[in-house]
Symmetry: C2
DNA sequence: AAATATTGCGGGAACGTTCCCGCATAATAA
DNA sequence: TTATTATGCGGGAACGTTCCCGCAATATTT
């Protein structure tokens, strides 16, 4: 048995091929002109010895700096969701900064489409080597994607997906399936003629497709499992939020046993806490600080989560793998759909895990 | 504003302190004799410039090889659980091999305490720089821990914890809380006078404390939530497994609506599939291949999981961080307790996530 | 045929560390 | 006093790459 214990390096290849290491380098990375004959020879030897470049030495020697751009919504007190993907991005940043990766972040306002236009333009003019972005505004995002494609800048979608684009990868949730799972959870609590209320906050227009998918997932679950109780939807627009209490109260039927809130559940939970929740099972989305409060005190029964921190982390890492390590990246990466309750939330606060 | 854009290196420190880089190195890593005066000066400058060593260059220049040992149970067809931590360990291995980390794996038989003695001895004589091990056999593991401590080899517990040991860290489940959560899930399905059956396979003696904790967690949930239905436990020993069908059938009361199996749920599910499950809600542990089959076909309703792949991955990474990066390691790392159902298992098959 | 351009390749500095070797000077021992 | 040892420090090779510079040999143009 041959001891291939000692790592073969570019020098070994060069020696065996009777060329200089510069030539090996040229062959491996198409950096210059080499005769077909030498190229052949070098490649064969590399394959034979299963040459793996030492990535440490590579990054150390190379002065190339990869500049990445991140374009995501800004977090707000009302909806702090985006602070989590950002945290993941920053975790990744620490890990790769030694490898010559520089990350610049751009934030847009989910309630202001112009801010997206403005920031996305900024990103383009900065001409980065790779982009992570959240395509929440459909039309504008498609436009932006196409510009990136045109400039040959690899880009990754996070949190939302746009089909038929030329993106390198997608990291995010399977929105429909999350709603479907929520249906299963609710159904454990429902009786034959119970009613269900689904609440959407329609004020963040960009997010609306998400909410619709979630609702559809839940409704499909009930349909597929022959549940025939009444299911009502309610879309709350920004100008109605002050009267939330009355609206919710008005819609909560005596027989309602399920309440599914597709975003910012804490707003509703706050009202319900005042009136008492009775027999209701309440399901919301995302382990954000305001939601957590109501999970802890028992108003919210379950939160469906999609690993927002991991989404951010993996997006950056994928770009790193693609650019630096030249690895192949999976195009679609759905995050696990997590079920979080009062009894297990504490293990999800920690970060990436 | 000062541009500290350019990374400060050991050379910059040396120049500013009017010493050679060798001296800076000596100061930073206590490698030799330096006068207090110089030491002081160098340290101050480092602090001032917030010097962060370039880990790439460090590992490249250093010929030090860290040898890690992993000592875990071997996976069996009957209980393939341990193939998952192993996978995580191998994932980590790929990531750190460029950093001069070599990992050697030792496996023992959960049903044979002598194999643990033998393998643990092997580990000790190989005199590694760090150890990851699963302390399933209490008595022997404590002994082994103490030997490691004595030899000043840092060691990490995986999957099971031993209190009061001198371990560097623990990665694993909070067994009790898992059972507690299972209690909550079951309770969604129970009616006022339903009965619950808890099944333990007592044939892997080493695992028995796990099972007991799980049972206790569930029982406590019920107690704390004033549930007064009958709860029966059944411990199945190796010689009874052939008659599993009759035993289970005999214990399944007409009013039993909950079945909690603390390990290898597939064995029971297989029998239940034949007789029909009726109104039963069945809860098991771990998303292993045989369990998955019965989750898919609806016999098992929920599996409680503890990120076995991540446990393996993080254990190695922690040792890496400790040895190579000299980072501080958290002593206790509980994995998230995951609820897996037919509707979301597909997102958990992928690896580390 | 001479001048110029292209092709194929090697030499070697640089990246930021680690760590060995050896040299002064100071402290201690004889 | 002289010999020996201890202390404090600098020089510089090495790690495995990247990439610039430049030099022959060959091909093309004038």
């Amino acid at each position: 048995m041959i001891e291939d214990n000692e790592k073969t390096g570019i020098n070994d290849i060069a020696r065996l091929a009777n060329v200089s290491k510069a030539t090996v380098d040229r062959v491996l990375y198409n950096r210059g002109r080499v005769s077909d004959e030498t190229r052949e020879k070098v490649l064969n030897i590399c394959k034979e010895l299963n040459y793996q470049p030492n990535i440490l030495a590579q990054r150390l020697a190379s002065d190339k700096v990869y500049r990445l751009a991140v374009l995501i919504p800004k977090s707000t007190p009302d909806n702090p969701y985006w602070e989590y993907p950002l945290k993941g991005i920053e975790n990744a940043e620490k890990e790769v900064e030694n490898y010559g990766i520089k990350i610049k972040k751009y934030f847009y306002d989910l309630k202001d489409i112009r801010s997206f236009r403005k920031e996305s333009l900024q990103v383009l003019t900065s001409d980065p080597d790779g982009i992570v972005f959240a395509p929440e505004f459909n039309r504008e995002s498609i436009e932006f994607s196409q510009k990136c494609s045109h400039k040959k800048i690899p880009y990754i979608f996070i949190d939302s997906n746009l089909p038929k684009q030329n993106h390198l990868s997608y990291f995010g949730q399977d929105t429909y399936q999350g709603g479907y799972l929520a249906g299963k959870l609710l159904s454990l609590h429902l009786k034959k003629h119970s009613e269900v209320l689904i609440l959407n906050f329609a004020n963040e227009l960009a997010n609306y497709p998400h909410f619709m998918d979630r609702e559809k997932g839940m409704r499909d679950y009930f349909t597929e499992h022959n549940y025939h109780g009444k299911i009502t939807s309610l879309n709350i627009s920004p100008d109605q939020e002050t009267e939330l209490k009355e609206i919710v109260k008005g819609k909560l039927h005596r027989r309602t046993r399920g309440l599914f809130i597709t975003s910012s559940a804490h707003k509703v939970a706050r009202q319900i806490q005042k009136t008492g929740k009775g027999n209701l099972m309440i399901l919301g989305y995302d382990l954000t600080t305001p939601n957590l409060k109501y999970l802890k005190n028992g108003i919210i029964d379950f939160l469906i989560c999609q690993k927002p921190v991991t989404q951010g982390y993996l997006s950056i890492m994928a770009l790193f793998d693609h650019l630096v390590q030249k690895k192949d990246i999976q195009k679609s990466n759905f995050m696990p759909i997590e079920i979080i309750a009062k009894e297990n939330y504490q293990y999800y606060l920690d970060s990436n895990i």
